[in-house]
Amino acid sequence: MHEQLAGFLKRQWPDADTITVENLEPIPGGYSRETFRFDARVRRGHAEEVVPLILRKDPPEAVSILNTSRQTEHELIEAVRAHTSIPVSRSYGYELDRERFGEAAMIIERMPGSGLTSALFNGGADAAQADSVCTHLCELIAELHLADVEKLNVGGKLSDPRNVGIDISSWDRYMETTYEYYLQGYHWGDFEPLPVLMDAYLTLRRAKPRPLRLSLVHGDFNPVNFLYGDGRVTALIDWENARVGDPREDLGWMQAMDVLSNTNIMGSVTKEGGFLGYYNKLTGFGITQEEVNYFCLFGTANIAVPISNALKRRFQKEHMELTPFYIIQPSIVNVLNFAKMLGYPLPAGV
């Protein structure tokens, strides 16, 4: 691995005399990509620098949850860097040839800041930073949603990155084709009859909200996908699920994951009536709490489809990886979250 990484970087930095890879180790956590941290010691003439880097590598195709492209992610990251002020890791390139790293991969800058976001909440060590960090996070997602979609959607690759028939020619078509994807996707992932999921998908279609302009959405805007330090967000990370969509999807997904993660991103902004109020002031979108609740369900459905599909592949023994047995736990919790969001009659105290 060390030699392959050094060789890759040498192709990116042909002016370097020597490149040595050091401190390579896997980063635990996350379900969709395999990530490794390492340092590149780069010598150019008499000058030497150490570049902190991350290798993001696809898992084997059989165990993959999201079949997304490292090339597309690279192009998006570079477009976000070029056209917004959102802090994002620079991408140093991608390798689609599986011979090099075993699977397709990309190498990105390792940004400064803490990823232990749970320390911001529940009396954690960084609780004093929660307001300012979450306020900055709100500003960043608002900036992303206001950004020019044409500039970020390089080559149109984020119009339907999962290749599931999404049509972004209008908001209405986007929603209709996404409902079709959910209902079709139910059958791709029915390792077990999952009536609550079917109820959620049908209810979403029956309760379509008001239209809003389509934006570039992060797609996995959740309490662990940013780094922070000194009261600011130092990086918005993990862009693999980014796509053109309804901006309310990011807010809804954050709300869903706030509950699941026992964090409080949405409740930690004191400015302008809280996270949603401040976001509305920045964007002018006038999004209501009811709409966030709708997209909480919509966004959860968006991730439930590929996860259920991945679980089904494992339980049909297409591969023998352990992780799906663990992922079933948040899936069980999410079924209850669906039930809550759909207003099911539930026992008191739930």
Partner: protein
Amino acid sequence: MFTTPSPDDMIEGVIAALQNEILPFVTNPKAQAAVLISQAILQMARQSIAAHDNQILDEHNSMSATLRAIAGAIGDTTGPAADAIRQRAATLGAEPDYAPLPDMAEAVTRHRALSLGLVDTLMDLDLLQRSGIGAADTALLILREHLGGRAVRDVQTLVVGAGMLGRG
């Protein structure tokens, strides 16, 4: 059949061995996480085994009753979706209650068939709701009451740490 050690004793033993005899010697962070995930899955299996048979029985009986109640709720509503709901109540919903549980393989097959019946019922109710038939709202509420109880019990029975290990 030996009663000691029980299957639960054996799984508990493996969890303890992972903690005491393997984890201290694992230095790779990804492998450490895999050990912790394995422990959580084994604990989930212990909790699942303890509740499995009773819950299969209970849910079988409850699903049959729910299908009958939904058919009652849609009343004299006409059309193919309503006919399908009544037909389901007359077949899946007419199954006699289990008490005690029969052969487990058969029970699992019947449980799956009933759950699929609920999914099909949701699709039929969706058609009725989109046609503006108010009785379908009442019928959906009956189904949601059943499903909500199951969702709560699944979390209480099966979840160990919500699968969030290593995330922030």
